[in-house]
């Protein structure tokens, strides 16, 4: 139940910088539901590579600016 993904993201932060953009708006832009955007932000869902790239594209940044590794070998571990 308490399992965590070995990476985190700045989706919420980037979304709030964009206007702010709602979870529904981001979901529509990348082709997923609002609940899926919420799950990504909470680290409860690992999005597909395609969705990850789409998110980065929406925010106009690189994928590494949205998702970053927090698992073994990361700077903070």
């Amino acid at each position: 139940m308490g399992r965590r993904l070995p990476f985190a993201n700045r989706v919420r932060e980037l979304r709030e910088q964009q206007g702010p953009m709602t979870q529904s708006e981001l979901g529509r832009a990348i082709g997923v539901t609002r609940q899926t955007v919420a799950a990504i932000e909470q680290g409860k869902y690992s999005p597909s590579l395609e969705s990850a790239f789409r998110i980065a594209e929406v925010f106009g940044v690189g994928i590494e600016d949205v998702f970053y590794w927090t698992g073994p070998g990361s700077a903070g571990s």
């Binding site: 997923v32 539901t33 869902y45 969705s51």
Partner: protein, 141 residues
């Protein structure tokens, strides 16, 4: 709560209630007969129709409250949830069918085999909906 989770709740509650009612009826008939009652087409048809009608009513009510969610296409996360739940459900059904076949080999009771297979089908569907609900809440890793 996403529409697909609400849908899973509707189906789980409907199937559970219908399943209890069906096996309660079978148990009552068996008690009257003094042995396991043979499966009756009428009982199965009534059970199926009640389940379908209740499921339709439940989905219409939920969809009427949030039509946008109901109209939304299934996305990648929901597809993963459905696939994983169906995978688990397949194991439950498989185990039930194998158990029913084994039971038939030992008892030769076709009626009992029918009920075990039918119960396994219900149980596998309940497991599928329960797993869907859990994955919606816990997250998909």
């Amino acid at each position: 709560m996403p529409f697909h989770e609400k849908s899973a709740w509707i189906m789980a509650v409907t199937l559970l209630a219908g399943g209890i009612a069906y096996f309660w009826t079978v148990a009552s008939m068996s008690a009257e007969l003094g042995h396991l009652a043979p499966p009756m087409l009428r009982t199965v048809v009534v059970f199926t129709v009640i389940i379908v009608v209740l499921a339709i009513i439940g989905h219409v009510l939920v969809a009427a409250r949030s039509p946008q969610d109901a109209d939304a296409a299934t996305d990648e996360r929901e597809r993963q949830i459905v696939d994983r739940a169906a995978h688990l459900s397949g194991y439950v059904l498989g185990a039930g069918v194998i158990g029913a076949l084994g039971l038939y080999l030992f008892t030769g009771d076709g009626n009992l085999m029918f009920y075990v297979v039918f119960g396994s089908l219900l149980l596998s569907q309940l497991a599928e909906y329960a797993w869907q609900i859990l994955l919606h809440r816990r997250g998909v890793y």
